[in-house]
């Protein structure tokens, strides 16, 4: 009886620990709102999100984060333009084409790339890529959208590649065998059988890669240039949301409108990435059901 009792206690104790992650997620929401909501007494939600002027230190201050949102979306979009093909193609190479030894090396390389601290990539972008861009294209500054996108792409590639690779592995062997038996080449099998079968997993990978890019802070803080304006070309500077939060939080007086506005920006950023993650979760659950039995 006592042993049974002990088992029950352990099980429930562990359940509490496991619930901790959900609790933290809840606390994150509560505290973002607690510190961010006061700004909406000064300005409406609509004006905050779609206001086109971000001058938090002026008198009177203006808290419109539309340029920051556009900045985030633009760098994420261009980063994906680079990272999605590279990530997915490298995943195909690793899982279907590469011989054994190269496969292991490449997987390690992608893992190391994932481990590269973002501040190091930011530094690299600032010191190497920016001067090169500035000279080559004769620009006023090399800290701009294109530079930030390339650096963000490097951060997003490992996410996209490793999750796509898992999805491709999960495609049942019978699919491939059936395709080869019909006389299809390897290329035709990959394009017409494997990729369609792994598509929802690959979509998950792309969405998570985008979430990674949109939330990445140090790279955009150091490399995007920091101009809080709607960009006109890919050589313009932008100030994505995370960069704005990280750069200004140190200077914003505690409890001021600026402080609350930065937390409110955090709320927007949090919900954007949350939406991405929930969509990815939905896709990955759908993709679990794909198997030889269901098709």
């Amino acid at each position: 009886m006592t042993r049974h009792f002990r088992e029950i206690i352990i099980r429930n104790l562990f359940a509490c620990f496991a619930f901790f992650s959900v609790l933290i997620l809840g606390l994150i929401v509560i505290f973002l709102f607690r510190e961010g909501m006061p700004i909406f007494q000064q300005i409406s939600v609509f004006k905050f999100i779609f206001g086109s002027a971000w001058y938090p230190t002026y008198d009177p201050p203006e808290y419109g984060i539309w340029p920051l949102i556009v900045g985030s979306l633009v760098v994420t979009f261009f980063a994906c333009l680079i990272a999605v093909p590279l990530g997915v193609l490298s995943a195909i190479y690793i899982s279907e084409i590469a011989p054994g030894a190269i496969k292991e090396y490449l997987k390690s390389i992608i893992e190391l790339l994932a481990g590269l601290p973002s501040v190091v990539l930011g530094f690299f972008g600032m010191v190497i890529v920016a001067p090169w861009l500035q000279e080559t294209f004769d620009l006023p500054t090399g800290l701009n959208i294109i530079n930030a996108s390339v650096m963000l792409a490097i951060m997003a590639i490992p996410t996209i590649s490793s999750i796509s690779e898992d999805a491709i592995y999960a495609v049942p062997r019978e699919f491939k065998e059936a395709s080869y038996a019909l006389g299809a080449t390897k290329y035709e099998t990959i394009i017409k059988v494997i990729i369609p079968a792994a598509l929802s997993g690959i979509s998950t990978a792309v969405i998570l890669g985008m979430a990674r890019a949109i939330g990445e802070t140090m790279v955009v803080l150091m490399v995007a240039g920091g101009a809080a304006a709607i960009p006109q070309s890919i050589f313009d500077s932008v100030r994505p949301m995370p960069a704005s939060i990280a750069a200004e939080m140190g200077e914003a007086p505690f409890g001021s409108g600026h402080y609350h506005a930065l937390f409110a920006t955090g709320i927007v950023l949090f919900f954007v990435t949350l939406a991405f993650n929930l969509i990815a979760d939905y896709f990955s659950n759908k993709f679990k059901e794909v198997g030889s039995g269901t098709l």
Binding site: S90, I92, R212, M222
Partner: protein, 293 residues
């Protein structure tokens, strides 16, 4: 004629394949070149700055000379703090999820929670740490607040790795133990956990690497531009390598002058983080080879 056509069609199909394989190989090559390019560049610019003094002395002359010892120490403290938060919590969560939980709504909620936590941007963790640990719990900007923030940041990594390791322990191990009349908890503690331990450790080491390199979460919760002395308690601010790089590269008035210090610090950080990751990768691949089941 028909045979001719067919032949050229097959040739065309294989030609497409050759092109495609070329593109795929090229993309793998670009990724490899990017990593190796970045690493070699950092290495060749950084290693000249590194000396015994650089690693063991504090910065001098308002951070334009001297070493980075306080930043190394600070990063070590924060990393140790983070893993002591994340490891127990993460392993217990993973045990619950793999060993105890039955499929159901609660598990679904916990899983979504862990996935979403993994996707929260690092700067939002920083904001949360500031709002909760620094302001609400009044820890101030300190090692404690920074470690807790980094700890919850790497929690999903540790949970994921531990779950993976626990799942790879064969079901027959558990069944054999339970069949001998051993209780569930003892089975987990004496049979499942020891078998899963190497996997759990590898995953946690990767988490440590991540914690050591993160900047945004500690900017408002722990990191200081400069501290005159080493921290004396967990309520002190610390310098940290990633933040030190950021400060030297962007905020100083002598950005060009301190370039070699910056390269040196970057090299130390990259060496530390990738060294940690490499150890984990090597342990894992040797484990895979030795695996008995």
């Amino acid at each position: 004629m028909k045979v001719e056509n067919q032949k050229s069609y097959i040739k065309w199909r294989y030609f497409k394949q050759t092109i495609f394989f070329g593109v795929v190989r090229l993309s793998a090559l670009i990724i490899t070149a990017a990593l190796i390019g970045i690493l070699t560049y950092i290495f060749f610019h950084g290693f000249r700055a590194i000396s015994w003094d650089f690693l063991t002395l504090p910065p001098t002359d308002s951070m334009t000379a001297g070493g980075i010892m306080p930043a190394i120490v600070g990063t070590l403290y924060l990393t140790i703090g983070a893993i002591s938060v994340a490891l127990p919590l993460g392993v217990v969560s993973a045990i619950y999820l793999t060993e105890y939980a039955k499929q159901g709504r609660w598990i679904r909620i916990i899983r979504i929670g862990v996935n979403c936590l993994a996707g929260v941007p690092s700067v939002v963790f920083g904001l949360f740490g500031l709002g909760f640990f620094v302001v609400f719990l009044k820890f101030g900007s300190s090692i404690l607040a920074g470690s807790l923030t980094l700890g919850i940041l790497i929690l999903p990594t540790v949970i994921g790795a531990s779950e993976e390791a626990l799942k790879s322990v064969p079901q027959t191990f558990r069944e054999a133990s339970l069949a001998l009349g051993v209780s569930k908890w003892s089975t987990i503690a004496r049979i499942v956990l020891p078998s899963a331990l190497p996997g759990i450790l590898t995953g946690s080491i990767l988490g440590v690497g991540r914690a050591a390199g993160e900047t945004a979460p500690i900017m408002f919760t722990a990191a200081a531009f400069f501290t005159a002395s080493l921290p004396k308690s967990i309520f002190d601010e610390v310098m940290a390598l990633p933040y030190h790089i950021y400060v030297l590269a962007t905020a100083g008035t002598h950005i060009e002058q301190t370039r070699s210090l910056q390269y040196g610090t970057v090299l130390v950080l990259v060496g530390l983080v990738l060294g940690i990751d490499l150890i984990a990768i090597l342990i894992r691949s040797s484990m895979r080879r030795k695996k008995r089941w």
